[in-house]
Symmetry: C2
Subunit: 423 residues, 2 copies
């Protein structure tokens, strides 16, 4: 197979005719396939059936000297703080355990910066004319949605294979209006990049002009290898403390992709000063999050070892799906020179970068053929991919059979978009 760039006009037209024919045939099949969201598949959910059988008798609800069914313990069940502490490599005292959504904890942290200010804020951000925010991109659309919802001015920071472009970041944080930054340090969404230790060190060592700069460290995929062994990661709280900026960072994690996406447990970790400050504010908001579900998770997962053993079983389900995506791309697209992609070993996505100007059209063609993908541009601030190039593939939800169909269609759509362009 020759790269499209090396083909003659005649060859391209012939290829276009052939690909168009195949596309029309597939469109006629009336398929409905979804690779839009990082949603675990049913087989993964079924792994956790035993979790729901652990709390039975009334005495099962006694833990850490309390009846978890009743009110109380704002910061979460001590055993569950310990579990997250072990996963993140921080002390239990630095952990606050929340409800089923780490996104909610992130939103609420930002919301409190706006309504009350953070520990080192001069005033609530709602009183400021302008809040700027660093968005390494491609990144997680729901992070950008939070920033957009609060009317932040989002500044795109390019991603490198080592993490965010730190030269750029170090320059941007000299602006006191730059108040924070989104980070997914391990298996970044969507690229699957693991921040290098040097990048993490530079991030922790940042000296932003804003005294209340908020480093949002979304460690969503901290134990989410689908290939190979568990990869240890630096403790960002410790790194920030070493650099003299213990209060700069909030780290987030959840069991959404360990147990149940809709009924897991989330947590944030922060310095002791931040914990005291946030607890004072949170005390007006909620008496405590669901400690029964926290206990259910503790009894089921037990400790880091228990979590890692479960993640191996998730990996076995996810691995063939990622292989299907990558193999199909390797076979169908690689020789044509019209796109490149990362080869992640963890996380939930494959990030494809097409030649400029092809992403929107490719996804439009996919949609018409019954394949739903994350919207083009979603991985960039304001939903605007400057090169119209990045496409996020989420292989976790469909079965391998469905995925193969969806990838076949995706590859045809991508080819078609490329051929239309050089026509």
């Amino acid at each position: 197979m020759k790269a499209y760039a090396d083909r003659s006009r005649e060859e391209l037209l012939e290829e276009l005719r052939e690909v168009e024919g195949r596309y029309e045939a597939l469109k006629g099949r009336g398929l409905s396939l979804n690779m839009a969201r990082g949603k675990p598949g049913t087989e993964q959910l079924d792994l956790n059936r035993p979790m729901m059988d652990l709390l039975r008798g009334d005495s099962d609800y006694l833990c850490d000297g309390m009846d978890v069914r009743n009110y109380g313990n704002l910061e979460g069940l001590p055993s569950c703080r310990r579990l997250f502490g072990e996963l993140l490599g921080v002390a239990p005292e630095n952990v606050f355990v929340g409800g089923n959504s780490s996104l909610q904890l992130m939103y609420d942290t930002v919301a409190k910066a706006y309504t009350h200010g953070l520990l080192h804020s001069e005033k609530p951000w709602a009183k400021l004319d302008c809040v700027r925010w660093l968005c390494p991109a491609p990144g997680y659309d729901r992070h950008f949605n939070i920033s957009a919802s609060f009317g932040m001015e989002m500044i795109t920071v390019p991603m490198t294979p080592e993490g965010p472009d730190m030269d750029r970041v170090e320059e941007l944080i000299r602006d006191p209006a730059v108040k924070g930054m989104w980070c997914v340090p391990k298996y970044s969404n969507p690229d699957g990049i693991v921040y290098s230790n040097e990048t993490v060190r530079r991030i922790a060592a940042m000296k932003p002009a804003a005294p209340d700069f908020l480093l949002m460290w979304d460690n969503a995929y901290c134990v989410h290898e689908f290939e190979g062994e568990y990869l240890p990661f630096p403790d960002i709280l410790g790194e920030c403390e070493k650099a003299g900026s213990a209060d700069m960072v909030f780290e987030f994690a959840s069991t959404s992709k360990i147990t149940f996406p809709g009924a897991g447990v989330s947590a944030f970790a922060c310095s002791e000063n931040n914990m005291a400050y946030m607890k004072k504010l949170l005390n007006a908001q909620i008496i405590s999050y669901d400690k029964v579900n926290q206990l259910r998770h503790v009894r089921y997962l037990k400790d880091k070892e228990g979590v890692l053993a479960l993640m191996k079983r998730h990996a076995e389900i996810l691995r063939p799906k990622f292989h299907c995506v990558l193999d199909t791309l390797d076979r169908e697209i690689a020789p044509l020179g019209i796109a490149s992609w990362q080869r992640p070993v963890g996380g939930y996505f494959v990030s494809v970068n097409t030649l400029p100007g092809l992403a929107k059209r490719t996804l439009e063609l996919c949609r018409e053929a019954g394949v739903t993908m994350t919207g083009a541009g979603a991985t960039f601030p304001y939903g605007k991919d400057p090169k119209d190039s990045n496409i996020r593939i989420a292989p976790s939800y469909p079965t391998v059979g469905e995925l193969q169909q969806a990838m076949d269609i995706f590859c045809i759509c991508l080819k078609l978009a490329a051929l239309e362009q050089c026509k």
Copy 2:
């Protein structure tokens, strides 16, 4: 027994000596009793054991065409919206089902008014110099804490046996800076007052100067009779709609005192316009609340009839506790003319009003004798009871035996405080 007011100085001094003696003896016992919070007792929690056995096999998680374990359905499980709709007398489409805390839903509604503004706001409240808020008092301390946390200027509105003093309310809402009002319409916290239909009608008919006036209708005790039959209540959404102000009200409820205080399900109900507006904002905050717990509640409670049957069983546990409190007050305090109290038939509190200036001292004496009560003043804005008179008794958590001990101590402390004053 003669009222203290009718006794001679000698009689009072003799009574003081006697009561002091009994107080010192009780203090020596080193008791530790708690009547501080409206916290259900263990026996009540144990009623709900069957709820935890309902979700077992993987297919149990399929409901309303979805796998409740996975992401999705921001507004909650349709079956659970139906359940709350039936309880509140509103359509399921008007119900949003949240997590384990209606307090959180209330806080978040207020927070969104500050960060984004409400549907009819000219701008986010954070941009306003002054937000005033109506606080019928005595009222719920956690409501006032939310107002205080956002820096609202709280205006106390007196409670009458029919609900808030509506003459006063109608006067106050002419001020466009008055942006909202807390209400607990059925078995108000702490008085146990049920708003009269006329009061509810007048509230719904309010025409506040603020276009984005927020009526916070916390129907926390909507099915919480401990004496007699279920008392139907007017649907505030319908009443507001009839009065042409459908968007003025958010109603809140939860199963915290139906199933588990720390692991129940909460909901808000509002107009369709408000629902669309809030869903747009909430979409940035959370993907969905815990639908597994929502389903667990639906399977267990089934419908309004199921809830009312369960509430009868709670009533059987609570009734002797309330009788213990009221009987002891009737016997020990009524003849002395030093306090009066409501006789609620639902809710979680007995509200005692002492002669002016006795509340703080009574609770100080209680604390020294090992009885913890809600702090004096807590039922008023800024924690300041102008008459230092209101004391909230929460009888639900202790056993009847413990409660009798605690009430004996309470009565002695109240007498002692009264005698010290007229000494």
